[in-house]
């Protein structure tokens, strides 16, 4: 038999791709995608029902429900898929054969993260496909704003997924799910947390509110759903800023997760 191509065990990118591919296959075969297919079916059904129930606003109603469903479902899916694939594999020891290869733990985390994002992306495309089909059926044109709102939702999912990776790297599957769920909920209320600090009064409370405001992810930035549904203009500068914020936040969180995971005993 031939020996390996290189002593370093292939390129970093190819190793990440291998882990991502395995994670994607494992998640898909775990019937994770059954839920979005069901949700997509419900959306198409809802498109017909809304004709008689929405007093002529069926297009808006369908977009509203569709985008909210996409956001909620994708966030829940990314949390569950990450904690299932990462925390459980740490707990059950299925990572050991992979980690015994010349694979850095950070690469493993990135691969798993990429694989899960792939699953979420496929299911999001299924939902968006169903939503667009529903809109066409009720005679509402698909706007660019709708697609931008869906794209920003995916950036939000990226941030929530990175947080789930971080919590999975430091705790058990159940705790990681709970922590990531909380982070997702709090992420939509960071402005309120800052306000609360001001409302309580005192330097300490204000400082804590301020620190939390900047440390916690501001997921509201990614919410342009209302603007998309009501066809208000969404500036590309805003979208660019939100994407940059999301990518930077996710990168920092993944670096932190990798740093912690490198130092963790796995056996």
């Amino acid at each position: 038999m031939k020996t390996h191509d290189s002593e370093s065990g292939g390129s970093r990118l190819s190793r990440i791709r291998v882990v991502a591919g395995s994670t994607f296959l494992e998640s898909v075969r775990d019937r994770t995608l059954a839920v979005p297919v069901l949700l997509a079916g419900l959306l198409i059904g809802g498109a017909f029902l809304s004709r008689t129930l929405s007093l002529g606003q069926h297009g808006k109603m369908l977009q509203d429900f569709g985008l909210a469903g996409l956001c909620l479902f994708s966030n829940v899916l990314v949390i569950l898929a990450v904690t299932t694939s990462l925390s459980r594999s740490v707990e059950q020891g299925t990572l050991l054969p992979m980690l015994a290869k010349p694979l850095r733990r950070g690469e493993l985390l990135l691969g798993q993260y990429g694989g899960v994002l792939g699953v979420v992306l496929v299911s999001a495309l299924a939902i968006m496909g169903a939503l667009c089909l529903g809109l066409v059926l009720v005679g509402t044109p698909v706007s660019g704003g709708l697609l931008l709102a869906a794209g920003l939702t995916m950036v939000e999912v990226m941030v929530v997924g990175a947080l789930a990776v971080f919590f999975s790297a430091v705790s058990s599957p159940v705790l990681a799910t709970v922590f990531a769920g909380f982070a997702m909920l709090i992420g939509h209320t960071t402005a309120d947390v800052r306000e609360l600090g001001v409302h309580i009064g005192g330097r300490a409370a204000r400082a804590i509110g301020e620190v939390l405001y900047y440390a916690l992810p501001n997921l509201e930035i990614f919410d342009v759903r209302a603007a998309a549904v009501h066809r208000y203009p969404i500036s590309l500068e805003y979208v660019g800023f939100a994407v940059l914020y999301g990518v930077l936040y996710a990168t920092v969180v993944l670096f932190a997760a990798s740093w912690v995971f490198e130092r963790r005993d796995l056996s």
């Binding site: 038999m1 296959l25 494992e26 050991l96 054969p97």
Partner: protein, 347 residues
């Protein structure tokens, strides 16, 4: 070159209050091309050592190198195949997919990875389940899949944690053959095992780990006392009077139908006993000098370390007689099985 080297390697678990030492100052060197058997009772620190070498756990102190590279460097694992004890894999992946992925992670190209996966599935007897998901495999099949993934990329060093556990006698035989075959290809094999007969059969050198400390380490013929430990003589047609005289000379006798088994410690009285047998007109069936086995040596080492005979924990005679004299679970356990069994090496 030493393919494995450790210097004062230590691993402690727990915090300051509950600290337990799993491995103490391990200095070990394994040379290229040898089969090294790493032995020790449960909780001695064998798996901890292997996990330290593979970078799965971080040492509390000390250093280790694989193929000349420090183990904290992931590249030290290039050219190393590792099979954990009870290997586990993602449940929904197929055997072929797992091997191909492991090959890619070892640095093989896609085509070569698939080719090696096919060859190793064949070698491991898993070709017919190549497209079956892991969740449908038996324990023995998982063990073979674990070995196959370790062999992906034709490693120069194989580290196997209890490779024979969970295998039937035929599987054990195949595993032994495979390990010897790997040495024939120039691969160094380092494995832990409880099955001493297998270790004795195939290992060039052994190391015995007791309560986290490496006791004896060396070639089997160096560490085993190869002088005759006794002699077994089998004869037929021996009368009662002669049996009595043989016992007086220091031999022990056991009768199995027509045959009498005489066991003699040392060589001194063998000639005298044979003379008695000849004079009695009995027939000599066999005469076998008995040498110390690895198992006997291992048990002697364990007993020496724990300060106790190798008495099983279920020995009723060692249960304290007075009811109500138990001082708590740990104390009573110490009293029952000996303090040595409760060493720091246990986790």
């Amino acid at each position: 070159m030493d393919v494995i080297r450790t210097e004062a390697l230590c691993k402690r678990y727990g915090n300051l209050r509950t600290c337990s030492t799993a491995l103490r100052n391990l200095d070990l060197e394994v040379a290229e091309g040898e089969i090294f058997g790493y032995l020790g009772p449960n909780g001695a620190g064998k798996t901890t050592t292997l996990n330290l070498l593979m970078g799965l756990v971080r040492p509390s102190s000390g250093r280790a190198w694989l193929l000349g590279r420090p183990v904290r460097d992931p590249d030290s694992r290039a050219g190393v195949g590792f099979m954990p004890e009870h290997p586990r894999f993602p449940r929904h992946l197929k055997c072929g997919e797992i091997l191909t992925a492991c090959g890619r992670l070892s640095g093989l190209g896609r085509g070569e990875s698939k080719r090696q996966a096919g060859y190793l599935l064949e070698q491991a007897g898993l070709a017919r389940v190549a497209n079956r998901r892991v969740q449908q495999l038996s324990k023995g099949m998982l063990q073979w899949l674990g070995l196959a993934q370790a062999l992906m990329g034709s490693p120069r060093l194989l580290i196997l944690d209890e490779p024979m556990s969970g295998l039937d006698p035929v599987g054990r035989h195949r595993m032994r053959d495979l390990i010897v075959e790997q040495r024939g290809r120039g691969t160094t094999v380092f494995f832990s095992s409880h099955i001493l007969a297998d270790v004795e059969m195939i290992c060039d050198r052994v190391g015995i780990l007791l309560e986290g400390e490496l006791g004896q380490c060396g070639r089997l013929d160096e560490i085993l006392d190869r002088r005759s430990a006794g002699t077994e003589i089998r004869v037929t047609g021996l009368g009662g009077g002669v049996v009595h005289r043989i016992r007086e000379m220091g031999g022990t006798t056991r009768i199995f139908g027509e045959e009498t088994l005489i066991e003699v410690h040392g060589d001194d009285c063998v000639d005298g006993i044979l003379e008695q047998v000849r004079e009695a007109g009995a027939s000599l069936r066999s005469l076998v000098p008995r040498r110390e086995s690895l198992e006997e040596y291992f048990l002697r080492q364990v007993a020496g370390k724990t300060g106790d005979d190798a008495v099983p924990w279920w020995d009723n005679s060692r249960i304290p007689e007075r009811a109500g004299s138990w001082d708590g679970p740990e104390e009573s356990f110490r009293e029952t099985v000996g303090a040595g069994e409760f060493g720091e090496g246990r986790r």
